[in-house]
Amino acid sequence: MSTTDETPTSPVLVGLAWLMVGIPLAYGLWQTLVKASALFTG
């Protein structure tokens, strides 16, 4: 473990981490929106 390394975290790593959770969440949200739309059309 280094305590002297002051390099800021790469924005790419931050973006990838958010994509890792964002993609499945977007899939779930989309599927739920499709299901929810039945309330207004069904």
């Binding site: 800021p8 975290t9 958010w18 969440l25 899939y27 739920t32 039945a38 309330l39 069904g42």
Partner: protein, 466 residues
């Protein structure tokens, strides 16, 4: 003593480590364990597979939620001391193992293995996983604790949104005869078991990615030497002392009442909307539209966790709960009296009520931080979650008990729901009063040694940066 890569001290972030990597790490865990709220997608198939009753299968979910509350309470201090990485690893192993043991139970028609696997082992994974990132998030975001925990706990709501379609997809891949959209469709035992194994592997890998990513802030490798954020009146209280304060138990009542009232709607959502708009035995709401209503509530539940918890950073925790319980009470009353006037009114009222239900979960860690400080906030949160477990049993018991006395959901009308809804108005009123009674914690409960050391550390840091 040799330090393991899992130890808290080994997970201290290097200077420059972005705190915006911590919410995705937390979300990786919460999105995985949030699957538990999608357990109902397996219900019909499990009933057919084990040739048993819906109640017997329903116990799997109840057991998991009770174990969540118990393990969070019992293991909260261990999670706090061991740090988020070790806790997330333990949660991943328990949650994954729970699915695998459950799959073995399905494959061999041994229901007790499903109870043991998904219910007990998986339930322990739920409890550890739920609290594992909370105190770390509060320490990384001392300026916005509501936003930080709201993001993670939103994931618990979001997990069900992912798991429900994913599980249906997997079951239809393993059993091509299974068509999830067909009413009463059941997947074969083999497809169920394979789905459980697949989900166990996916969730373990996903949670391990979160464990690899998580870090504690610089200076927080050892709680004895870390600089803690005190509560609003300078409080730093240990978990064993916190449970001796009236504030803890008042907040316990607040959470219990908020969850009980929310479950009142969530538990019966689909039959409830059909019953509310039933005339001469026929409902104007189709089964598909009722399913859509469940989807709307899931979205409201998830959104409320993030939006209201973030708002609490601006308006304060107590006013936020005044809104959840006070406005919630009025909305519940309007639902009981005027819910059947139009579907827009019904859906709108129910959606806001459920957003308050979700918000109540997400805001409570920040409320604890305000009352007790960050010294052992994770462990205190773990103990508070027993209120959730208790409400998970009490809520459905109250609603089902009252509805059973008037008929059967699916054949009722709006007026039949009034006694149950008005009971929930009373439950919310109790929570409302309990919240108003919460005052800052007395100094008698502070850990004075930790407080003095913390003051010294803050002074030393301010001196060094001057």
């Amino acid at each position: 003593m040799r330090m393991s890569r899992l130890d808290k001290q080994a997970t201290v972030a290097r200077p420059g480590y972005s705190r915006w990597l911590i919410p995705p790490a937390a979300l990786a865990v919460h999105l995985s364990i949030g699957q538990v709220y999608a357990f109902s997608v397996f219900k019909n198939s499990l009933v057919a597979s084990f040739d048993t009753s819906l109640t017997a299968i329903g116990w799997v979910f109840s057991l998991a939620i009770v174990m969540l509350g118990l393990s969070a309470a019992v293991l909260g201090t261990w999670v706090e001391r061991s740090g988020p990485r070790k806790a997330m690893l333990a949660a991943a192993l328990c949650w994954g193992t729970g699915f695998l043991v459950g799959a073995a139970g399905i494959a061999t028609s041994q229901l007790w293995l499903l109870y043991l696997g998904y219910g007990v082992i998986g339930g322990i994974g739920l409890g550890i996983g739920y609290i594992s990132p909370v105190s770390t998030l509060i320490k990384w975001f001392p300026d916005r604790p509501g936003l930080a925990t709201g993001m993670a706990i939103m994931g618990f709501g979001g997990g069900a949104l992912i798991a429900s379609p994913l599980s249906n997809k997997l079951m239809s891949v393993f059993d091509p005869d299974f068509v999830p959209t067909e009413p009463g469709a059941v997947a074969s035992s083999s497809a169920l078991a394979q789905t459980f194994v697949t989900l166990g592997i996916i969730y373990t890998a996903f949670m391990l990615a979160g464990a690899a990513l998580v870090r504690v802030p610089p200076g927080h490798g050892d709680d004895r030497t870390a600089e803690h954020s005190p509560g609003t009146n300078g409080a730093l209280v240990r978990a064993t002392e916190a449970i001796r304060t009236p504030q803890f138990w008042l907040l316990w009542v607040v959470l219990f009442c908020n969850v009980t009232a929310g479950i009142g709607i969530l538990e019966q959502a689909a039959p409830m909307i059909q019953d509310f708009f039933r005339e001469d035995g026929n409902s104007s709401i189709s089964a598909a539209a009722a399913g859509g209503f469940v989807g709307v509530l899931s979205l409201a539940n998830m959104t409320g966790r993030f939006v209201w918890s973030s708002l609490s950073d601006r308006i304060g925790r107590k006013p936020t709960y005044v809104m959840y319980l006070g406005v919630g009470l009025v909305l519940y009353l309007l639902l009981a009296l005027f819910g059947s006037s139009s579907t827009v009114v019904f859906v709108g009222l129910a959606a806001v009520i459920i957003s308050f239900y979700g918000g109540g979960f997400a805001t409570v860690p920040a409320y604890l931080k305000d009352l007790f400080g960050t010294l052992e906030v994770g462990a205190i949160h773990g103990r508070l979650l027993t209120a959730w477990a208790a409400a998970g049993v009490a809520g459905p018991l109250i609603v089902n008990g009252i509805l059973d006395s008037v008929g059967e959901p699916g054949n009722l009308v709006a007026a039949d729901y009034r006694p149950a809804l008005l009971t929930m108005v009373g439950v919310l009123a109790v929570g409302f009063v309990a919240n108003l009674m919460i005052k800052p914690v007395s100094e008698d409960h502070f850990d004075h040694d930790a407080h003095a050391l913390n003051e010294d550390r803050i002074s030393a840091r301010q001196e060094a940066t001057r």
